[in-house]
Amino acid sequence: MERTLRLISTHPLDDLARTLEALLVVASQPLSAEEMADAAGDDAERVEDALGLLEERYTEGRSGIVLEQVAGGWAFRASREEAEACARLFERPVERGLSGAALETLAVVAYLGPCTRPDIARIRGVAADSVVAGLVERGLVAESGRDEGGAVRYRTTPLFERVFGLESLSALPRLDDLGETTDDIRDRLEAIAARRPA
């Protein structure tokens, strides 16, 4: 009997992996490998290896729980396949009813942050006060010091990265890549021309 059990867990990192599972299930926000190494009392390199092991184990299609790298750390989430069941039980309140203005402001803060409300207003052409306050309330944006003039600066939070499924802010597409290429514009022009009665 004992021998059979041993056969199941043969990987040398299994003990550490179990500890990491425990830490991840308790955490309510992503944990960095260093944090887990500290808590587990093991070294960071072995923790990385064990996380790799867990990543294979907790993957879409294989488990209802998925281990992902998000917001600069590691976190468990529900498998996408189980989203429907989750949605019957829970809502995703953070992003409910995010307006176009809010998303634009988020984009400005994510790309140009830390930036002040006047910075945002300058780019968007409208006052940003209430929109920023709403984003702060949702926890997507937080204060981050002040500029030389004393105006409060804002940056996006780890929750923002988590809600948008970003490993970090560097996972955002480059701004230069966002505009349309000349070909795209031509395609659109031709589509419009085709719609026009001859």
Binding site: L103, F164, G165, L175
Partner: protein, 257 residues
């Protein structure tokens, strides 16, 4: 109402507003060919169709159309030295184009975020306040026990005896001296103050002098001093008090006491 989706039907261009801006910015369409007034009219018409005033859209439109108008003005009058800020017309046009470009890119970024949110709609994860972390045990640098012993020894040393000398300062009652001087005057017709109080402490001497003044105030005796720091002579008032009063020193003594 999305300003960038505003459908335009101009002579030079037909399509959404943002495409018009893109073409202008990419210099594929000359600003001079764009009928800005027609753009404004179209926008105002769309706006009028709605019951509510969309302030966000108005603000956005104003910024965009103002920039477009200025670009056009710069192009139409390239050589005229129009005072518009401190920038020269070319710089100003560039600055405007840069801002428009920035605005457009942020629009794109917002669109990307919107799409991303849609894609990530089926990601569910635990959300909650951060759990309380146990308080980290403070790590102390390595210590030398000798230092601790030395510090404790300094603490354990008997402190030096504090002098309580000043606590012994006692003021004898004035009445004690009053009685003493009265008795003295009953026995002697005259006495010398310094001699009587010579053996006493400074405090007692002071109190004795107060008693003297007290008796003088009551008119029981007469005080006489030939010169400053000369011996103070005391005699009963019966002899010569009247003469003193005439000199007007009485009031001085009484008030000072």
């Amino acid at each position: 109402m999305h300003v960038r989706e505003l459908e335009l039907d101009l002579d030079a261009f037909e399509g959404p507003f943002d495409l018009l801006l893109t073409l202008v910015l990419r210099e594929e369409l000359e600003p001079r060919d764009v009928d800005v007034a027609a753009v404004v009219v179209t926008f105002v018409e769309r706006l009028a169709e709605r019951e509510r005033l969309d302030l966000d859209a108005c603000g956005e439109f104003l910024v965009l159309v103002a920039a477009l108008l200025e670009l056009k003005a710069r192009e139409l009058f390239p050589d005229e030295d129009v005072e518009l800020g401190d920038l020269d017309p070319e710089e100003a046009a560039e600055e405007l184009a840069r801002r428009l470009e920035e605005f457009r890119r942020m629009k794109e970024a917002a669109r990307w975020l919107t799409e991303r949110l849609e894609q990530e709609r089926d990601r569910f994860f635990r959300l909650g306040p951060a759990p309380l972390a146990p308080r980290a045990e403070p790590r102390i640098a390595p210590q030398r026990p000798e230092t601790l012993v030395a510090a404790l020894r300094a603490l354990a040393a008997e402190p030096p005896q504090v002098s309580l000398g000043h606590m012994a300062l006692r003021f004898p009652p004035v009445t004690q001296f009053v009685e003493r001087f009265r008795a003295l005057l009953r026995r002697r017709r005259r006495f010398d103050f310094d001699q009587e109080v010579g053996g006493l402490s400074r405090i007692e001497q002071a109190v004795a002098f107060l008693a003297l003044l007290e008796l003088r105030k009551g008119g029981e005796l007469r005080i006489d001093q030939a010169a400053p720091f000369a011996p103070i002579r005391i005699e009963p008032a019966a002899e010569g008090v009247r003469a003193r009063d005439e000199e007007g020193e009485d009031s001085w003594n009484a008030r000072s006491a």
